[in-house]
Amino acid sequence: MRRNPGLWYAVPLTLFMLAFFMAPMVVVGWYSLMPARSFDLTTEFSLHNYRAAFAEGYDRPLMWSLIGAALTTVIAGLLAWPTAKILHRHAGRWASLVTALIALPVFISESVRLFGLSVFLMPGGGILAGTMNALFDVQIGTFLNTRFAALVGMVYIHFPFMLFPLLLGVAMIPTDRVEAARDLGAGRWAVLREVELPLAAPGLLIGGLLTFVLCLGANAEAAILGGRAVTVITAAIEQRFNYAQDWPMGAALTVLVIAVTALLVFPVLRRIDLNRIIRR
């Protein structure tokens, strides 16, 4: 056998990621240290943009994105846990069909699905309101164009990203451990707290992390469903880049989002053995 070829196989992918993932991060980081509205990369570094970001109130969109991501993660988790338990418990043909049906919409563009949600919720002639009016002669209002609608859209889009890792997590709970806990006097909540959640933790963490991070950058939900009720951080960055032509400020905001992401992703990835989950 020659030298271990693993390294050689890794080279193309590594170069690709360095060029198109790592390098852009560096460029963004560099721009964030440039003077306001500059289009050149120089060595005159300053933290001006970061101070300005807070002074000009860009902490608010960041806050909204964080709150939205946190709420979505919690709600999606609460919805996904019983679903994962049911699908695992009744594994078989029906469960596989349901799982496939839940997975399918992921491959339909989120602009299509969010558009559908807005058509469904539209006041007056929307699918829901129109049907209620035609069938029961009831006029109903709508929560379209509110922060709540944006949240509903986020949960709707990101539910599968919570569910599928959680399914893997739930599959890591051996039935006999739950039975042993019950046999030793544990009630429903104690079983959940002492046995099920710790054993499913890898799946729960991955699902939660994925949901949170994806939601952190999500802006289509706010744009299509939220109306003008809320400005999320991505929308703010886009506004700085495109309309204000202030690349360094946009870059500084981007770096803030990347920092929050890194702060969450690195500790979790260090703790979790992804291989073990993938191998299953």
Partner: protein, 345 residues
């Protein structure tokens, strides 16, 4: 003497899966402090039965009383019983100490009291006290067995169930743990209900043994009774290798058809004869010519496979006995009518 109720009383206990009765109307009283073992081959329903007893499944019919109290529909977490699982089902995400304290934590026992009790239990199952903080994933097979036992004892159960906990363990460790379990039973005085597929294991430890087959108890008795007076060929065969000789009445007087020997005083349709009851030579009342077809050295004994008439027989001879036969050799073998156990089916 008062007539205290039995520790556990089963009446017509039944578990059906579709049309199959995994447990089929089992009734038995198990006395306080008894070591009661249920033995059966895989698929006999013994594991289903112990799950009913522990409350992990609900019976389709029948009742279950613990010290006179009806617990038929009491869920597992409200029964004063504890089980040692076949897989042990240790909580791998917790330390040895946390495993042992689990039931006490569920009951709301204070941490200090839990800890001191856990230390007592570690001593009881012969584990060093510094195991308390060790992750269970770092324990060897035998240590895990002891942790599982201590965890079950930690709930201070009135009855302990064992679902084949020693089945996946190598021979020598199993022998050690069998003895320890028996001693632990004597020391704690608790009622033990033990499930195994090994009658040999049951013999070593039990006060009473129930042989289970197709959801029913075929025979219940002390180890001695099971050994000397098996109820039928199934029980006799369960003990290990035995010779079973059919008795024919067709020619008037009963004879062992295959050996062409008279079977005077036949007590049943079949004679069960243990390998060690077949001895070489003409010394026994009933003797016959046999051909040695195989010879296996078993250490302290030698096993001969014999062909005599239409019968294939097994004899085991102590290594100290002088007779040393070789394959292909013809020899006389015999047995005494007193060594026969008679069964009818």
């Amino acid at each position: 003497m008062t007539t205290s109720p039995p520790a556990l009383s089963l009446t017509g206990l039944t578990k059906r899966f579709g049309t199959l009765s995994a447990v089929d109307g089992v009734s038995i009283d198990i006395a306080e402090g008894e070591f009661f073992t249920i033995v059966g081959p895989s698929g006999s329903g013994k594991s289903t039965l112990v799950r009913l007893l522990a409350g992990l499944d609900t019976p389709s019919a029948g009742t279950l009383h613990l010290r006179g109290r009806d617990i038929t529909n009491t869920p597992a977490n409200q029964r004063p019983t504890a089980m040692v699982f076949q897989s042990l089902a240790l909580f791998d995400h917790r330390s040895v100490g946390q495993n042992i304290e689990f039931a006490m934590k569920m009951k709301g026992v204070a941490p200090d009291a839990r800890r001191s009790r856990a230390m007592e239990l570690l001593r009881l199952v012969r584990l060093p006290e510094d195991f308390y903080a060790r992750p269970v994933t770092q324990c060897s097979g035998g240590e895990r067995q002891r942790v599982a036992l201590a965890r079950a004892l930690g709930s201070d159960p009135e009855i302990l169930f064992f679902d084949e906990p020693l089945s996946a363990i190598d021979y020598r460790l199993r022998k050690t743990l069998e003895v320890e379990l028996k001693e632990l039973h004597q020391r704690t005085g608790k009622t033990f209900i033990y499930i195994t597929h090994s009658l040999e294991e049951a013999m070593v430890m039990s006060d009473r043994i129930a042989i289970m087959r197709m959801g029913k108890f075929v025979q219940v008795g002390t180890p001695d009774e099971i050994y000397r007076r098996p109820a039928n060929r199934f029980v006799a065969g369960f003990m290990g290798e035995v010779n079973i000789l059919a008795v024919s009445q067709s020619s008037g007087a009963p004879v062992f058809a295959d050996l062409d020997l008279p079977a005077a005083d036949a007590g049943g349709a079949y004679a069960v004869l243990r390998p060690e009851s077949l001895v070489p030579g003409d010394g026994k009342a009933l003797a016959f010519d046999a051909l040695v077809t195989q010879k296996l050295m078993l250490g302290s004994r030698t096993q001969y496979h014999l062909r005599a008439g239409d019968a294939a027989l097994i004899a085991e001879v102590g290594a100290a006995t002088a007779a040393d036969l070789s394959i292909g050799q013809s020899a006389r073998f015999g047995f005494s009518p007193a060594d026969i156990a008679w069964v009818n089916d």
